[in-house]
Symmetry: C2
Subunit: 245 residues, 2 copies
């Protein structure tokens, strides 16, 4: 029996990424976590803080993949429109979540800070959402259907992601092994391609790199069959030795 | 008369980004360059090295935005499928480009390296493509319609992007100014929102940051009206002073 393939996509809601102001740091974290869980990240989209754009991306992707993760746009200011937009995408009511309110208030009280209406804006979410605790700054993310809504600030996102993990099915971890050699991509292309044809179940990629003035190639094998990957690593070493001769 | 709004999207073709192996560094560079040219980056998609996924993304986006930039997948190995896939997306022939061949050969000769058939694979592209010179490693990118196909390695991509720029229309540069203050996002949310309502032509965003244990908020104004942005910066300074009292 073929196991279900678990797949995922990320939607980054972020004018600050599209303007070049900020470097995204969330994709690599989520991608690595998903690999360890045996979930294949298939697509990432960065969209602007525009309702129609967010709805289009979320609805297209949630129909296509097992899990969708969004980052960004759940703060207290007018440009934070993710929560109400996700409610619209699910045709759900946008309403105050009492548990979220409690968590935000607890955090502000612990910080000896005033509770303002703008803070409570972060407690509004789709009615059928379940909150995802944020152990860093109180204001939770949430889960609705197969969509996990998280903050954009990396360390807060990572805290919420740990909560999201409790809801994820997992498969065999996806293992990645690589071998680096000072040969050109062109020199190994044919034999590497033949190997890929023989073992289509393993993803094989080649990436050139440069150390000082010297070019090399990194060959990467990726898949969930650890034994086969180890065997193919040995085959690659042989190919490299012959090319380097 | 309203000037045409110039827009763009990026398609990153990269299993290595989706697996978490590599951190993308191209979006921020391209985003910043486009802002300076007055072109608004509206969307980024990261897709796997899978023909159907690349075609879907490129065709959806090229119909929607003024310019599309792709990065990655134009090297000499079997996993480099961007060029033939773009040919398919345009229903164009995938064929040897003589100018590209010449550039690759010149580079290899200058490097005193052997010319292999796998190197010449990088000279194949859609028949109606125009090459974009790569002053770093010879193998060019190309332009077809409103799609600019570039390498994934940042410094090579940047070289090709300089050539792509020659084909781009430009508008008024998009200016971004920001002000940082040690106030919470919640404290300024209402007044910031009122300001946005009054000046919808300026994009206003607020981003929390943390220095040590201290939280602050970065308020960003973005648009092509430099004078108005300067005026609003002063208004923001006043708002912050009042909040901080």
């Amino acid at each position: 029996m073929q196991a279900e393939q678990l797949t995922a996509a990320i939607v980054i809601i972020g004018n600050e990424i599209l303007s070049g102001k900020t470097q995204d740091l969330n994709v690599q974290f989520i991608a690595t976590e998903l690999s360890n869980l045996g979930i294949r990240l298939k697509e990432v989209r960065v969209v602007a803080d525009i309702e129609a754009d967010i709805i289009e991306a979320v609805n297209a992707l949630r129909a296509k993949y097992t899990y969708i993760f969004t980052t960004g746009g759940i703060g207290p200011t007018h440009d934070d429109i993710t929560s109400q937009t996700i409610a619209k995408a699910f045709a759900d009511e946008y309403t105050l979540n009492e548990k979220a309110k409690e968590k935000i208030e607890q955090y502000l009280i612990a910080q000896k800070r005033e509770i303002r209406p703008d803070h409570l804006r972060m407690a509004y979410m789709p009615k059928s959402a379940e909150i995802l605790l944020n152990h860093e700054t109180g204001a939770p993310g949430f889960k609705i259907g197969n969509v996990f809504v998280m903050a954009g600030i990396p360390y807060i996102m990572q805290s919420i992601f740990q909560e999201a993990k409790k809801f994820l099915k997992s498969g065999k971890p996806i293992i990645s092994k690589s071998i680096e050699a000072y040969i050109s991509e062109g020199a190994i292309a044919q034999q590497f391609s033949d190997l890929q044809d023989k073992y289509p179940e393993i993803e094989m990629g080649s990436y050139p790199f440069k150390t000082g003035e010297r070019w090399g190639t990194s060959l990467v094998l990726r898949g969930d069959n650890a034994e086969l990957i180890d065997k193919l690593m040995l085959a690659l070493e042989d190919i490299i030795k012959n090319v380097a001769k």
